[in-house]
Every structure is written in structure tokens, then in C-alpha cells.
Amino acid sequence: MVSKTEETQLNRLENQVDNGGGGAWEYLCLVRKLKVRRSEKVLKYGLSILNDPKKRSALGPEEWTLYEQVAIAAMDCQCLNVAKDCIKALLKKFPESKRVGRLEGMLLEAKGLWAEAEKVYSSLLEDNPLDQVIHKRKVAMAKAQGNISGAIESLNKYLEIFMADHDAWRELAEIYVSLQMYKQATFCYEELILSQPTVPLYHLAYADVLYTLGGLENLQTSKKYYASTIDLTGGKNTRALLGVCLCTSAIGQVSKGRNKEDKESPELQSLAAKALEKEYRQKADDKLGLLTSALRSLKI
């Protein structure tokens, strides 16, 4: 979850670090806290801290967290020798650690040595068969190999045990969407809405999937979820505004013959259109023409 203030703070820090203004450690901490994927920058700035003995020792025990962060970022950037050195340093400090063992498995994954990685993970699971992260790594590995059905299967098996893990539900939802299995994806998004009902992005994704499914009932539900996204974001989510417009016109098309007007909120669409126009005028005045023509084509 990244809120608006946190996003601006992250961007500000990133700018500052990019321009050599210092604050690299704060930036890395924020990246870790917000769990965003900025591997290239983490690698660059994390490495510069690690290579500076004075800065490194100033971190105290946080040093090892940084090693781990940099190792993963290096794998993500395919700088495998950096990752290997980081893991070696960690291994020297924590020789028996499972967490380092996991990193080794991930390194093998990054190299593409699937069988070896599988072996590492299996041996780790023998010690603790309920290690959630390792189970997730195995799912990711199946996905990385292109074995999507296998990934779905093991993810489902994982969710049978750890059914309160919303990250896994999200992953499953995204996989289902990528395979165009929208019915299954709606179930996952419902689960996500249940676990975090005030996150507008889940409402938005759920509405998207319902809109894609089509059919009168789904479209009406979808419009409601776009509306709830608007309410939760204070109307600052452009996608939700557009979604309301699209839904209304689609509902109009589907129910044309039956003349079943949507009595509940007749104004919502025109208001959304107005809000869109206002937003475009503020942020991208030159694209306003495109918007108005698009809205006109929806017969608004």
C-alpha cells in the first residue's frame, strides 16, 4: 500500500538521491517499507553504501538488512556476481540461517537453474514445512518457467492452508486475469475486498473484471464498485471516472430494448464526465479534445 503522501515522499527522495543530494539510506529504507520494486536504484545506491566502510559501519545491525536488500535487487538486475558476494557476506555472518538459504535459492532461480533451486527450497521446507515465503517462491518459480497451470495449482494448495494471506490472493487474481479466467478472478478480488475493504484499488480491479465479463447484472455491479472507488478516492481516480462512463453507456446498450432505466443514480455519469473534463483541463489541456470526442462516442 502506497499512499499519496508516501508516494510524493518517495519521489522527492529519489530525485534528491539521483541528484547527489544524499539521503540514500533513507531512500532505501522507504523503498523497503513501501515494498516497491526499484531494483536498479537500490542496487546502485545500496552498493555505494556497502562499498564505503565508514557508511556501512554506521548502519550497525541494519547493515545485514541492506545486504539482503541489495542481493535481491542485484538478482533482479541480473548482476549475479554482486548478488553472490552479498550472499557470501551474509553467509559468513549467519552460517545456519534459513533466510540466507532462501537467498541462495533465489540466486539459483535468477541464474535459471530451476532444478537446483527446487532442491534448495525442498530442503528448506523439510526443516519447516510451513514456511510461507518458500512456498511462495515455489509458486513464483513455476510461473517464471512458464508453467502457469502448475503455479495456479500450487498457489491454490497454498491458499488452502494460508487462506488469510492476501498477497497470495492478489497474485492468484492477477494470474487468473492474465489467463482471462475472469470468473475465478472475481472470486479472488472479492476475497481481497473482504480482507481490506477500504483499499480502493481492489474495488477498482474488481469492477474492471466485472466490466470485462459483461452482462447486465455484472455491468451494474461493476458500476457500483467504480462508484465506491470514486467515493474512497474522493474522485481523484481517473480510471474509476472513466469506468463509470463506460459502464453506464454499456448498461444503456444492453438494456435498450427493455427500457429499463437506471433510476438509482441518474446523475452519476454526467458528473463523472464533468469531473473528467475538469481534471483534463487542469492536467492535460491539449488532450481535452480527445476526451470530449471519446465521451461523445459513448453518447453522453
Binding site: 510451513l130 487462506m163 488469510a164 494471506d165 472479492e190 473482504l194 455491479t221 462508484a227 474522485g235 458528473l271
Partner: protein, 246 residues
């Protein structure tokens, strides 16, 4: 009590301070001993799963109004049907937690360890305090107290005429035993500090029975009235947009 007792400074030097220091040191020692003896135990699959089911059912109960009625109904059936619902515990299978505890040697072993690190030093120090320091008036607290506190503060001296604000040495021991948590959290770090009262609470809550909470959750889920909140959101969105556009 008109005239004050004058406490010998030797009592301060040889009773009050040594007692406090010893209590702190014993607390630290006990922390390290229990850290040494703590065994990493792999959580049981069934227990983990039951915990997760409860969390998910609780989410469903809490946010039921955010999903469409059809989805809610299907989920409720999935959780609480009488054949194979996740929250359904067949009668008789809800085994007695106590019996289970004794059938599992690991659990008994763990309890033993906990007991060892708790009771043995406690009895030893109590015996030690009793032997060396019984019968001293060790300190005076700077505010008056009512008679009810006498048994708490003057344990070990049987004088009903002494003002209640004087603390006997044995009571000082008890005060230290239960009141050093703040100091330990400073010495050992926030989450490591655990005083004896908490330990005792833990012991009391040992016979926790997950099947009970499962059926409680099932009952809670059965009586939830589903009232879809989303139609309301359309009006709210309208209001929001009206404010935004104007």
C-alpha cells in the same frame, strides 16, 4: 502515627539496595536462561490452518457488506455448512485440549522448561530473602496509605501500629518481583520484557481450544445480516463528484 521511625542507614546499604540489585540480576539471568532453553518448534499444520480459517471468517463477517449478496451467500455456505464447511467441527472430534496436551510429550516438555525457568529461581530467591532479610523495615514510601495496603506492604512483620507507608523487606521483594517490568524493557529491549504476572497469565491460558473459537465464529457468521453497502456508495460518489465539480 505521630513520631516517625528512624531507619538505620545500614538497612539501606545492606538490605534495600542488595535486594533490588539481586532481583534485577536474577531477572536478567532468567531471561538468558530461558532464551537458551527455548526450542524452535514447528507449528502444527492443523493449528495454523484453523487460525487462518478464523481470520478469514472474521474478515468475511466484518466486511460482508462490501461484496455482492450472491458472493456472500456462497461464502457463508462454504464456511458454515453442516457437512464439510470450514468452520464446522463434527461433534466428538473436538477433543479435549487437556488430554491432547498430555498426549504430546513435546508440549509437556515445553511446559516443564517454562516452569523450570520460572518457579525454581522464584522459590530459591524467596527462601533466600526469607532467610537473610526477614523482619526488616526496609523503606518508607513518601505518601500515606490506608490500612488495606498493610498486607501488601508489611508482609512479614506483625505490628498493627506501624504506619502503612513503611515497607517490610519481604514486601519489597514482592514489589520488585512484579514491578521491574519497565526496567527489564529498558535493559533487554521492549519485547523481551515479561514479568511474572504475564507469565502466570500465559500459564492460565494454556488450555486454549481452537475448536471452540471455530464454532463461535460459525455462530457469528450464521447470524450476520447481509446488507449490501454498494448501492449507497453510488449516492455517496455522486455527492463527492458534485463537490469536486462545483
Amino acid at each position: 502515627m505521630a513520631e516517625d521511625l528512624v531507619l538505620d542507614t545500614a538497612i539501606r546499604d545492606w538490605v534495600l539496595i542488595p535486594l533490588s540489585v539481586v532481583m534485577v540480576l536474577i531477572g536478567v539471568l532468567r531471561y538468558f536462561v530461558s532464551k537458551l532453553m527455548r526450542s524452535f518448534q514447528v507449528p502444527d499444520l492443523k493449528i495454523v490452518k484453523e487460525g487462518q480459517v478464523i481470520v478469514r471468517a472474521r474478515n468475511l463477517r466484518g466486511a460482508a457488506n462490501f461484496i455482492p449478496p450472491k458472493s456472500f451467500r456462497s461464502r457463508r455456505v462454504y464456511f458454515s455448512n453442516e457437512e464439510n464447511g470450514l468452520l464446522f467441527v463434527p461433534k466428538g472430534q473436538a477433543q479435549n485440549a487437556q488430554a491432547q496436551m498430555f498426549s504430546d510429550p513435546n508440549m509437556a516438555m515445553d511446559m516443564m522448561k517454562k516452569n523450570l525457568s520460572m518457579i525454581i529461581p522464584q522459590t530459591l530467591t524467596f527462601a533466600w530473602v526469607n532467610f537473610f532479610f526477614s523482619g526488616f523495615v526496609a523503606a518508607k514510601i513518601p505518601f500515606p496509605l490506608t490500612q488495606r495496603f498493610r498486607s501488601m506492604l508489611q508482609n512479614g512483620i506483625d505490628l498493627s501500629t506501624v504506619d502503612v507507608s513503611y515497607v517490610s523487606s519481604r514486601s519489597w521483594y514482592f514489589l520488585n518481583l512484579f514491578g521491574l517490568r519497565g526496567l527489564f524493557s529498558l535493559i533487554l529491549g521492549e519485547e523481551n520484557a515479561m514479568d511474572d504476572t504475564q507469565r502466570m497469565m500465559q500459564m492460565g491460558g494454556f488450555g486454549f481450544d481452537p475448536s471452540k473459537s471455530l464454532s463461535a465464529e460459525k455462530d457469528g457468521l450464521d447470524i450476520v445480516q447481509h446488507d449490501w453497502a454498494l448501492p449507497k456508495f453510488e449516492h455517496r460518489a455522486e455527492a463527492v463528484l458534485k463537490k469536486l465539480v462545483s
